[in-house]
């Protein structure tokens, strides 16, 4: 296993991060209307990908049931630690039962 690939990956990953920070600093005013909405777009997509993605397909499994339980906890304004525990607990429970 060579270090070259690891260095390329780390350099590339950092380059993306740095480009974002530089762009954010330079064009803060112009980007403001976009960046105020960007988290809503990216995080809702991330939730879908993390809750249902399984490689290149979408699946409905114990994980999604657990996340749904987590959503209920969020709706009841539970703190994040409770939200996460509920989601994990329900997922694990469904896996044991199923």
């Amino acid at each position: 296993m060579s270090w070259t690939a690891l260095a390329a990956l780390s350099a590339g990953a950092y380059a993306f991060k740095l480009v974002g920070v530089v762009a954010g600093d330079r064009f803060a005013d112009r980007l403001a209307p976009v960046t105020v909405l960007l988290p809503a777009a990216l995080f809702s997509a991330l939730i879908v990908a993390m809750a249902m993605g399984d490689g290149p397909s979408l699946v409905v499994d114990a994980r999604l049931i657990g996340v749904a339980a987590g959503v209920l906890a969020v709706a009841r304004r539970a703190p994040m630690v409770v939200v996460v525990m509920v989601a994990m607990g329900v997922t694990a429970l469904v896996r044991v039962v199923a």
Partner: protein, 224 residues
């Protein structure tokens, strides 16, 4: 200890613990893919992007070539470029500190920073979450490499549901406005369509397009 009890630090710590736990299977996979301890840890420190690291070691352990593995992993890392402009308003200090802060850009730090109302809290949320995640992610990596295949599959603990559930909580402050709701809804629909049809990482990038309709809604509200 009382500092730890501030809600944003408590939430950051919850995310960091989850990252530490997910570091275990990453370490196991890195070890089985033939990475040394130093290499597995170097990726966790210098790449510091969980989904990219998982993608990389998965391809390598499946016998794929490093170039394919790197390009697939970088596609997943590309979304961090979109997180920069979200986080820069809360960053402080000069060029060097901002360049260091860039390394700590992740889904979690961006979500934690952007979920806070108050600039000081947002700044603290970014750094506290970033440093806590870095520490526990590296610790999880080391433990995973050392313990290897003797570890139980964390899927059995429901850990895979922890992150999407945490992000639902972190999404809430962004969907207070009508424009935010519309943006989030379209972002989710884009992901549903794109996950099965595009390479990993691309769905999140495409979801950024949902900002367009969201801005239109915001503009119409203003003009009324």
């Amino acid at each position: 200890m009382s500092l730890l009890l501030q809600p944003h630090r408590r939430d950051g710590l919850v995310l960091a613990v989850a990252c530490g736990l997910i570091g275990l299977p990453y370490g196991v996979l890195a070890d089985s893919a033939g990475l040394t301890m130093a290499q597995a840890v170097a990726l966790s420190v210098f790449t510091f992007a969980g989904s990219s690291q998982f993608a990389y070691v998965s391809v390598i352990s499946g016998g794929g070539n490093p170039a394919t593995a790197v390009s697939g992993a970088l596609l997943l890392a590309a979304r961090n470029a979109l997180y920069g402009p979200v986080v820069t308003p809360v960053l402080r200090g000069g060029l060097f500190r901002r360049a260091v802060a860039a390394q700590f850009l992740t889904d979690e730090t961006t979500a934690m920073a952007s979920a806070q109302d108050e600039p000081n809290t947002a700044h603290d949320a970014f750094w506290f979450t970033g440093l806590a995640i870095m520490s526990l992610w590296v610790a999880g990596t080391v433990a995973g490499v050392l313990l290897g295949a003797s570890l139980e599959d964390p899927g059995a603990w429901g850990l895979d549901a922890a992150f999407p559930a945490a992000f639902v909580a972190l999404l809430v402050p962004h969907v207070v406005t009508r424009a935010g709701k519309v943006t989030a809804l379209i972002g989710a629909v884009i992901a549903l369509v794109a996950v099965p049809t595009t390479p990993a990482g691309v769905p999140i990038l495409l979801a950024a397009l949902a900002v367009g309709p969201g801005m239109a809604v915001a503009a119409r509200r203003r003009s009324l």
